[in-house]
Point group: D2
Chain length 177, copies 4
C-alpha cells in the first residue's frame, strides 16, 4: 500500500520538514510504502489545472498510484500555504475516492487546526475522503531534539491515523473495481 | 438500503419541508427505503449527548439501521439551525462510516451553501463520509407550485447524489463486516 | 460601557459556566459593566426570528444596550451548541456594528477553536465585527480549583481581548452617531 | 480615500480579470482612488513573510497607504488560489484595522462563496474587518459582452459594498489617530 506524504510548505527555514520526516518514518515502520512529495519539487508560478506541465505529470503519476494521502503542512494566517494549494490544484480526478489524513504544524498551541479545517473543505471537492483523525504538531520549534521527537505520544497518534487511513484505503478500493 | 432524510428546521412556516418531501419522493423512486426524520420529533431543551432521552433512543434506532443519511436544511445566518445541531449531537458512534448527502435550502441565490460547509465539518467529527455532491435549493419560496417542483433539473441532481451516496454506502459496508 | 457575556450551553453539568464566571469577574475588574446572558434563560423550541417571543424581547433589550459582546461556549462535535445558535438567530439588526470576542471551551487540547471559527462566520452575517483575539479554555475540566483558575495567564489573555474589544466598541460608535 | 483591488489569480486565461476591471470602474465612478494590484506582479516561489523581498516592499507601500481593500478572486476547488494566499502572507501588521470587501468569481452558480468564507477567516487573523456585503460573480464566462457586464444589477451591488466599506474605513480611522 502506497501512502505518500505531501510536505506543504516551501518556506525558507520551514519547521514542518521535521514533522514530515517523523511521519514518514512512522509510516514506513507501520509497513507501508511511502515517500515525501516536497512542494518545492511541484511548483508553478500560477494556478494551472491543465495537467500539461511537467510537475503536474510527475504529481499525477504519484497520486494515481497512491492508495491514500497524508499532508503535513503549517498553518499560515489561519489558512493553508499558497504553494500547497497550487500543488493540489494541478490535478482533479486523480484524487477521487482516496482517504486523506492531515497533520497540522504550528509554533503556537493550536497545531494548525484551522489549516486542517480549510484543507478538508478542499479535499471534499476533490472527492477525497476526510478521515476523522488528524495530528496537531503544536510548538513545533521545541518539539524535536537531535532529529528525535521529544513527545513520544506522537508515535501512537500516527498509528491511530494510519489504522483509519488504511481501513478506508482498503475499503474504498473494493468499490472501485 | 435505508437512507432516511433529516428535515433540519422546526421553524414555523418552514419552506424546507417542501424540499424534503421532494427529495423523499425521489429517493423512493430510486428504489431505496426512506422516511423523513423531522427535527420537530427529536427535540430537547438543551444539548444532551447522554443518549438516555426517549428521543435519543428513537433517533439511535433509526441511525443505527441507516446505510447513509441525507440532511435537508435551511441556512440561518450562514450556519445550521440550532435545533438540527442539538438533534445531531444526541448521538455519536451511531453515525460512523456512513455517507452523508446534504441539501441546502435558501430564499436567496446561494442555496444554503455555507450551512452545507459548516455541517460537513461537523460530519467529519462524527466519522461520517461527506460525499462531494450537494444540492442547493435556491429561491425556495418560488420553486414549488401545487406541491410540484418547477425546475425539473432537480430530479437529475438528486439522482447524481444518490448514485454517489449508494456507492459509498455499499462500499463502506464491506469494510465494517 | 456594557459588554454582556453570552453563556452558550444549557447542557446539564456544563463546564463552560466556570469559564464564563471567570470572564465576568475579569470584565468587571477591567471597569466595564457586564452580566451573563445564560442561554438557559433564552430558549425556544424552534428557530424563530420573528422577535415576537418574550425571550427575544428580553434579548433585544440587552443587545441593543450592549456596546460589544462576548460569547463563552463549548465546542460540540466541531460546531457551536444548538441552543446558542437558536438564541443568536432570535435577532438580527440589533447586533450590527458591535464587536464580538469569543471564548472557546473544550475538554481536549484545542480550546474549542473550530467552534470559534464557525461562530465568526455567523457573526459576519450579523454585521458584527470579529476581533482577532480569542481565548481558548482547553482542558476545562482541570482548569479550575475551588472556583479559581489555576493558570494565571488567562487574566492577561482576557485583558488583551478587552483592550481590542473596547477599542472597537469606542471606535465603531463614532461612525454610528 | 484609496481602496486598491487585489486580482487574486495569475492563471492563464483567467476570467476574474473582467470582474476586477468592472469593479475598478465602479470604484472610480464612486469617487474613490483605486488601482488593480495584480497577483502576477506580486509573486514569490515560496511563502515568505520576511517582508524583505522587492515585491513585499512594493505591496507594503500599497497596503500601508490603503484605507480599505477589495479582493476579486475565483474559487478553485472550494478554496482561494495559492498565488493569492502567498501574496497576502507577505505582510501582516500592514493590514490591521482596514475593512475588506471580497468579490467571488465562478463558472458555476455559487459565485465563489466558499472562497469568500475561507478568505474571511484569513482576514480576521490579519486584523482586518470583514464587511458583511460580498459580491458573487456567478457564471463569469457568460457575464460580459464586449467588455460590458450584461447584468446591470451588479452596479448597485458594488455601490452597496462600497457604502459599507467606506463607512468602516472612515470610522476605523478615527480610532487609530
Amino acid at each position: 500500500m502506497f501512502i505518500p506524504i505531501i510536505l506543504g510548505t516551501a518556506r525558507e527555514g520551514r519547521q514542518s520538514e521535521k514533522a514530515a520526516q517523523f511521519v514518514l518514518e512512522e509510516v514506513l515502520k507501520y509497513g507501508l510504502e511511502s515517500e515525501i512529495l516536497d512542494v518545492r519539487d511541484f511548483r508553478l508560478p500560477a494556478t494551472d489545472a491543465s495537467k500539461q506541465s511537467d510537475v503536474a505529470k510527475k504529481l499525477a503519476e504519484k497520486i494515481t498510484r497512491a492508495d491514500g494521502l497524508i499532508v503535513v503542512s503549517p498553518e499560515y494566517n489561519h489558512g493553508y500555504p499558497g504553494e500547497l494549494k497550487m500543488m493540489l490544484d494541478m490535478l482533479y480526478t486523480e484524487y477521487a475516492h482516496k482517504p486523506l489524513g492531515i497533520c497540522g504544524v504550528s509554533m503556537g498551541g493550536l497545531g494548525g487546526v484551522r489549516m486542517v479545517e480549510q484543507l478538508r473543505q478542499v479535499a471534499t471537492e476533490l472527492h477525497m475522503v476526510n478521515i476523522r483523525e488528524a495530528i496537531y504538531f503544536s510548538g513545533i520549534q521545541n518539539l524535536f531534539e537531535n532529529g528525535k521527537i521529544k513527545d513520544e505520544s506522537f508515535g501512537g497518534r500516527v498509528k491511530t491515523m494510519l489504522d483509519e487511513l488504511v481501513w478506508y484505503a482498503n475499503t474504498l478500493k473494493q468499490g472501485i473495481k
